[in-house]
């Protein structure tokens, strides 16, 4: 099968408007930065969401007005965006939001049927940068609909497809697993990896990590409700606390923004007896919003022992007490089961795992004209069982309060206090051995100043002071700036000092050894970006340098292993992005990353390239979308010091989607995903060969 021929065929068959890939710029400018051409065209859009809900939903999107999306030189920098947003109230959705939804949520995704419509320009519905966030950070922003449509088999792999600076190895058809033989280690610009404790995942504002091993569970993230994922490259411990060393993956779920309800169902079946069923329900009645979803995925795997089953359920309820005040309650339950098949040369018999986790939070949001207050309380509990008798019960609980205030039109402060406590129980139920673990926790205060001395300049500085009951005080800091000297041309730089606290495992558990005297790892990250964005072309280049000191490192082997704070990681690299857009029905994006990671080469590749090409067509109620995407990874090693090299990874995936929309607003969307169409033999992890050519076909229904 020749993908080039298929794309050419698609190009010949298609015509009409074509949006970009749906990925926001890696270099995020300030809040009043001019939107991309795509955004300009569609930012009138609220009409887009409106179209999805009204009878006119199938009509082509009109040219946007300058008011809605164009760069406006307002009297103050902060007014620029807000005024632009307020002027979108010409459409039904915006009016509705203005009446009832709190401003923070106005930017929530449109209903599922609209967001996944292949012919709709997507970037417009991506939220503006939240006032409390760091506008000088390098951010890769991916819409939830893009993740749902990705050919990759897991959410974090889909993120890896969007940016070459993110590397995520797989081991099969979407089950990363836990413990020995697991994949899904996330590297962001050379930091992170196994375990993932140098990368922080924040889900709806709440940090998410396994309490004992201190890292996110790769299989826990399914895109059924995701509105947007933002990956902050270079870390940000000032705003997000511990573990935000290499980067922060910020997941935000969506709400329905108009009264009524919607039901989405996706059923798919594919190679290796892989079955996927996802159903989500969003509703809005009177003062309540509801978002509920269930996802189940099961597969025999592409080789013996590579199968598994994941189930994730989510229920979120929001009470809009008044237009400025709301209370949100959310619970997410996860059950993961599967096996580690082992390397093909030494397959395992029955190395099973069974994980049950539950995340809960309660959030109060108060949003006034000149300030916002967010108070969050959360708990994260998990039970992990392994074939070898390992049993753990871990708990992470905490909360924070964050106050964002607009002091002047061009000056904003963010102040916050937070606390987090970790505890766990670990035993081996075969050997009847209990491993004592001591609770520890921290309290911290943090702040950020956001200053715009000129409409083209954005300055951000911040700091965090944390006191930990185990290892005392830690100070974090950051500073960044963006500058737009000419329209569409951005310069950006940022420096951050971040930290990672030792995990309970590293402190107390003999796997293979522990050291209760460990201190936090400290990182210093710096990057500099140049971005040029034109109507049809976007180019971006970034150079970065990171240094992690006090590295927590294991030496030796049982029974004389030791774990100590020693050494440092130094990473230097460059990233690039080139994107062609608005080329009729076609779009193309390529991202590349090269880095020097010194001696820490284990699963930390020298170079990576991701590419994607789209072709779209829309005719009346019919929509077509074809994508071809792929990944190339070079300089991959199984161990540090460039030992045990692996052949380059290279594969190409493809997907074809057709969508029919009924006048009632319902839609049917059958699709087929063809993975590894060249049937290449490749592996990210030695001995864990990835699947050859495989297929997944499904149908998505929206009511």
């Amino acid at each position: 099968m020749n993908p080039t021929l298929i794309i050419l065929l698609l190009a010949l068959l298609t015509e009409g408007a074509f949006p970009d890939s749906g990925t926001k710029p890696e270099t995020r400018p300030g809040p009043d930065a001019p939107p991309s051409n795509t955004e300009k065209q569609s930012k009138k859009p609220g009409s887009k969401e409106k179209s999805s809900l009204s009878k006119s939903k199938n009509k082509p999107v009109k040219e946007s007005s300058k008011k809605a999306g164009g760069k406006e030189k307002s009297s103050t920098p902060y007014e620029t965006r807000s005024s632009a947003e307020s002027k979108t109230s010409g459409d039904g959705r915006a009016r509705q939001n203005k009446k009832s939804a709190p401003p923070e949520d106005v930017e929530s995704d449109p209903p599922e049927d609209a967001e996944s419509a292949p012919s709709i320009q997507e970037t417009v519905v991506t939220a503006r940068p939240s006032p409390g966030k760091d506008h000088t950070a390098a951010v890769t922003s991916v819409k939830g609909s893009n993740i749902r449509r990705s050919t990759r088999t897991s959410t974090i792999e889909a993120l890896s497809q969007e940016s070459a600076g993110i590397y995520v190895p797989g081991r099969g058809v979407g089950f990363h697993g836990v413990a020995g033989g697991a994949s899904g280690a996330i590297h962001i610009r050379g930091l992170g990896g196994s375990p993932n404790s140098q990368v922080l995942v924040v889900e709806n504002g709440v940090p998410d990590a396994q309490g004992i091993f201190g890292h996110p569970i790769p299989d826990a993230y399914v895109p059924f409700l995701i509105d947007e994922v933002r990956v902050v490259m270079g870390g940000d411990s000032v705003l997000y606390g511990s573990n935000a060393v290499g980067g922060v993956i910020i997941i935000r779920d969506r709400w329905r923004t108009t009264r009524g309800w919607e039901l989405n169902n996706e059923t798919a079946f594919g190679s290796y007896n892989t079955i996927k069923e996802t159903v989500s329900f969003l509703g809005r009645w009177k003062s309540f919003d509801l978002a509920a979803a269930f996802h189940a995925r099961k597969s025999d795997g592409h080789r013996d022992g590579a199968g598994g089953a994941n189930k994730v359920a989510n229920l979120t309820v929001r009470w809009r007490i008044n237009p400025k005040l709301n209370l949100t309650l959310r619970n997410k339950a996860i059950h993961l089961s599967g096996t580690d098949p082992g390397p093909i040369t030494h397959p395992n018999d029955d190395h099973w795992y069974d994980v049950l986790r539950d995340n809960f939070y309660l959030k109060l949001d108060w949003d006034k004209e000149w300030f916002q207050l967010h108070v969050v309380s959360f708990a994260n509990i998990g039970i992990h069982r392994l074939y070898d008798g390992f049993f753990s019960l871990d708990t992470t609980a905490g909360g924070f309060g964050e106050w964002k205030v607009k002091v002047l039109d061009n000056l904003r402060f963010l102040l916050g206090v937070g606390t987090e406590w970790l505890n766990g129980h670990v035993e081996n139920r075969i050997q009847n051995e209990v491993f004592p673990v001591e609770t520890f926790g921290n309290v911290s205060s943090y702040g950020q100043i956001d200053y715009r001395p000129h409409s083209s300049v954005h300055l951000v500085a911040g700091g965090r002071l944390m006191y930990n009951t185990k290892f005392g005080g830690v100070i974090m800091a950051k500073a960044g700036a963006t500058w737009e000297p000419w329209r569409g041309f951005f310069l950006r730089s940022r420096f951050t000092r971040n930290f990672r606290q030792p995990t309970l495992r590293e402190l107390y558990l003999p796997f293979p050894t522990a050291n209760p005297d460990l201190q936090p790892e400290i990182s210093h990250n710096w990057d500099f970006s140049v971005t040029w964005e034109h109507k049809k072309l976007k180019l971006s280049a970034t150079t970065y340098y990171s240094s992690v000191k006090n590295l927590i490192k294991y030496f030796g082997a049982w029974p004389s292993a030791e774990v100590v704070n020693i050494d440092k990681v130094e990473v230097f690299g460059v990233e690039g992005l080139a994107q062609l857009k608005n080329l009729g029905p076609l779009g193309f994006k390529i991202t590349g990353n090269w880095q020097d990671v010194g001696r820490y080469t284990k699963q930390n590749p020298d170079a990576k390239i991701n590419f994607q090409m789209d072709a779209r067509h829309r005719h009346k109620n019919h929509s077509f979308l074809g994508t071809v995407s792929g990944e190339w990874v070079h300089g991959l090693y199984m161990n540090n010091y460039k030992r045990d090299p692996l052949p380059n990874v290279f594969f190409i995936d493809m997907s074809l989607r057709y969508r029919y929309r009924y006048a009632s607003g319902s839609s049917l969307e059958p699709y087929i995903v063809l993975r590894n169409i060249l049937d290449n033999r490749y592996a990210y992890i030695e001995g864990y060969l990835m699947p050859g050519f495989n297929i997944m076909a499904g149908i998505k229904t929206t009511l």
Binding site: H524, F555, G556, I566, N640
Partner: protein
Amino acid sequence: MVKNAILYAMILIISSMATIACGDDDSTEKAYVRLQNDFDNPDLPNPPWTICKAYYNGTFFDKVDIGETGEEFEVEAGLGYVYMILAWDDPDCNPEHCLPVASRNEEEVVPGQSRTIVLNVPNHQGPCPPQGVEPIPEDLYNQILELWPEYEFEPYENRTQNPQCRD
């Protein structure tokens, strides 16, 4: 004017950050290592091996008796095996009781680190017929022969014919 000022400020900030980021390089690639003879570990079998000679990452080490920890030596930071001449049940290290042995683990030290490398039953591999101990790979064996030719050990093909193996 304003843009120029901002440009200069930006350059200053970036260059400062770059200096901070790049100015903290390691001034040394050396590390400091002791060898511990752990062949009397009470939790493990106790073959009576005395470490007569050793070599690790560019440095020769002195004799280490059973249960003792040797002096600290400066080595090149990095990854490598510990190459050794061990004497079986002979604290005097007479050549007829000696064998070429290497550590089982490829041991690592990083710049500036002080580390004690522990050598015991799980962390050694030798030439004699397997008795629960990993057979030494050929390249490691030959490296030991090059380091200490005066012992005149048998070539790798005949490694089991070394005097100590025949005892």
